[in-house]
């Protein structure tokens, strides 16, 4: 049986194809302004027995694809995908383009509880994107560059927009932009840690997924603060789509 999972996120769309439980293909594209069309492009030429959509665009996709598709929340999809890739994980941190969540699993791998950020882009990929831009770093180099910092600067604003003005005043004060970059990463990590600490973490194995899990500086700061290893799957952005494909296989 061939099944597809499709994750229509705020910044990117991922498609994962699974055949008899084995991953056979995965693709990714920017979401853009026509997510359904992008999704269709990614699925072009594929014949699947089941298709399951997740992510913020899941219902739009369901509406346009009618009976051919069902939906699952990104919370359940990420849980399923992460458990399959990292079987020991008890608590998952997922930081995507627009939101961040923590998902706690029970021993069977089902979602036990979750927390999600509220409304604004505090502590999300969008925060890193905006602040990288204001400091003149390309987003995909932001983490590596920040790791070169020599000083720990405190950034107080969690709001992406206010952080930008805080950055501006620091630049004006003559602070080094690598140090500021590090401070920005620390503020994301602090936020994630405080969200994680709402769950009992003693002895827990923590998995980190979503686009921000690519960022080496955030990963390192998380590990330092949590005093434990944080597991990141090979392709952290595909986890939701992979989970959706696995759930589709069981329909």
């Amino acid at each position: 049986m061939r099944c597809a999972g499709i994750d229509l996120g705020s910044r990117t769309i991922e498609v994962v194809i699974v055949e008899d439980g084995q991953l056979v293909a995965s693709r990714q594209a920017e979401t853009g302004f026509e997510p359904v069309k992008q999704a269709e492009n990614l699925l072009a030429g594929e014949h699947c027995d089941y298709l399951l959509a997740t992510g913020y665009g899941r219902h739009l996709f369901e509406t346009t694809h009618g009976a051919d598709s069902q939906t699952v929340t990104e919370i359940k999809a990420v849980a399923a995908g992460c458990r399959a890739l990292l079987p020991d994980v008890d608590v998952i941190l997922d930081i995507g383009g627009q939101d961040s969540k923590v998902i706690a699993l029970n021993p069977e791998g089902r979602v036990r509880k979750f927390e999600m950020n509220d409304r604004c882009a505090a502590g999300t990929g969008k925060f890193l994107e905006l602040t990288a831009m204001s400091l003149g770093f390309p987003l995909d180099r932001f983490g590596q560059e920040a790791l070169k910092a020599r000083k720990d600067i405190q950034i107080n604003s969690m709001c992406a927009v206010f952080a930008e003005s805080e950055v501006t005043s620091m630049v004006g004060r003559g602070e080094n932009r690598l140090d500021i970059a590090f401070g920005l990463h620390r503020s994301i990590a602090n936020r994630a840690v405080s969200m994680l600490k709402r769950f009992s973490l003693s002895g827990a194995t923590i998995g980190f997924v979503g686009g921000v899990a690519w960022n080496p500086c955030v990963c390192r700061l998380l590990e330092e603060q949590l005093k434990t290893t944080v597991l990141v799957p090979e392709n952290p952005q595909m986890v939701g789509a992979y989970g959706a494909a696995l759930i589709a296989s069981e329909l």
Partner: protein
């Protein structure tokens, strides 16, 4: 034939254009949210009629009653004793506070970070779109939180007939004494305003009428524990909302009739939703008309709401007032005893509410509890955290939601609610 209510609204001083927009929006929302539901009980036709006439026939009734000398009292809270209002031959109506209106005007008077419920009350007044507010001879405010307490100081500028009632914050003898004093003062004010002397018989009649309404609502609630659930949570929310402004006697009769029908439906296993649909209980802040956002998201996501621990819900009517007493004073004490049991988050500490939520969760066999707080409503937001710990400890699923009357977070809320339903299914 449709009646033209424009002259009546004009006479009340409503802003006709803004009011038309409101009614149109309300009509569309009602169509989308309520009339599109499947398998509704026939008895809901009455509620549909009441809603259609919410600013029409009901207002005409109030104005007709005013012509015969009866007074109309507007209120925001379940602590305003309907027993006393009815004993003075007056009519109690709940006021509109469930939608954002004229926010830019409101924010000239109130800080932006004020809860939607308070801002909405101001918005309805400033934009002159609430006929209940305009028809009221007296509006009763009550000190249930710092936000309300302080904003009533400002509201007095807009509503000169505002009467503010103090409330105790502790369930001690001193607290009970304060409530008794306040209710005695209210009784006197009602006598002065209405020119009716509140006698033992009148007060007992007021208690009976109010109790009958509460009985009908209690009966309705018990029927919701059936599987399949005979009525949607949205429809019951509407009933709870209408309970605040419809004529109490007529309302009671209609709800009892609806309950007869629901009993038949239960026997025939007819549900508003399929059997074994996940059941959710709501707890927290009140939801005044037309605040239907959260229950409608829940029921569209494949679960059914089976209980509301809220002022627009069980907190408002689960306790009855004793009718025993041979003097006005004794009956007044019975009223105080009844209202003193209300487990509003104004009280500190407030263990009764936690106990009650846990008990409702068990009685209605809910699969999970969603706690609803309005943003910036500290009393309920703060209580939601120990509540979550307690319910988790007893093995119940619990989800905390903080929101307002806007639609901007609907996508986020939907994800949370769907994920919660995935957990409890």
């Amino acid at each position: 034939m449709t009646v033209d209510y424009q002259p009546m609204w004009q006479e009340l001083g409503l802003d006709l254009q803004a009011h038309d927009d409101l009614l149109q929006g309300l009509g569309t929302a009602y169509q989308d949210i309520f009339l599109s539901q499947k398998n509704r009980p026939r008895g809901m036709a009455y509620l549909d009629f009441v809603m259609r006439e919410v600013h029409g026939l009901r207002i005409k009734e109030l104005l007709d009653a005013k012509k015969t000398g009866r007074k109309v009292i507007g209120a925001f809270c379940v602590f305003v004793p309907e027993e006393i209002v009815l004993a003075a031959d007056a009519i109690l109506v709940g006021l509109c506070t469930g939608a954002d209106f004229a926010m830019e005007e409101v924010e000239k008077i109130l800080p932006r970070n004020t809860c939607s419920l308070i801002k909405s009350a101001f918005g309805f007044k400033l934009s002159r779109v609430c006929p209940y507010l305009e028809a009221a001879d007296m509006v009763v405010g009550e000190n249930t939180c710092d936000g309300k307490k302080k904003s009533y100081e400002q509201l007095l500028e807009l509503i000169p007939n505002l009467y503010v009632m103090d409330l105790p914050q502790q369930k001690t003898e001193d607290g009970r004494h304060l409530l008794r004093q306040e209710y005695r003062r209210f009784l006197q004010v009602m006598e002065e305003l209405s020119g009716v002397e509140i006698t033992v018989d009148r007060l007992r009649r007021g208690i009976e009428l109010t109790n009958n309404k509460r009985w009908a609502l209690q009966r309705l609630t018990r029927l919701r524990a059936a599987n399949p659930v005979p009525i949607s949570g949205l429809d019951v929310l509407l009933i709870n909302q209408v309970a605040f402004y419809d004529d109490p006697q007529r309302f009671t009769e209609s709800i009892n009739k609806l309950c007869d029908e629901l009993e038949e439906r239960i026997q025939q296993k007819i549900g508003a939703f399929p059997a074994d649909t996940p059941k959710i209980m709501l707890s927290g802040c009140p939801m005044a008309v037309p605040n239907w956002k959260l229950p409608s998201l829940i029921e569209r996501s494949g679960a059914v709401v089976v209980g509301e621990e809220s002022c627009v819900g069980e907190r408002g009517w689960r306790n009855l007032t004793a009718t025993a007493g041979n003097t006005v004073d004794e009956l007044l004490n019975a009223i105080v005893d009844r209202y003193f049991q209300v487990d509003c988050a104004v009280f500190t500490p407030n263990p009764d509410r936690e106990r009650h939520v846990a008990e409702m969760c068990r009685d209605y066999q809910a699969d999970g509890v969603i706690h609803y707080s309005l943003q910036f409503c500290q009393p309920y937001i703060i209580e939601s955290m120990p509540m979550e710990r307690r319910l988790n400890d007893q093995g119940s699923n619990f989800l905390r939601i903080e929101t307002d009357y806007s639609q901007e977070d609907v996508g986020q809320l939907q994800t949370r609610i769907e994920a919660f339903i995935e957990i409890i299914s």
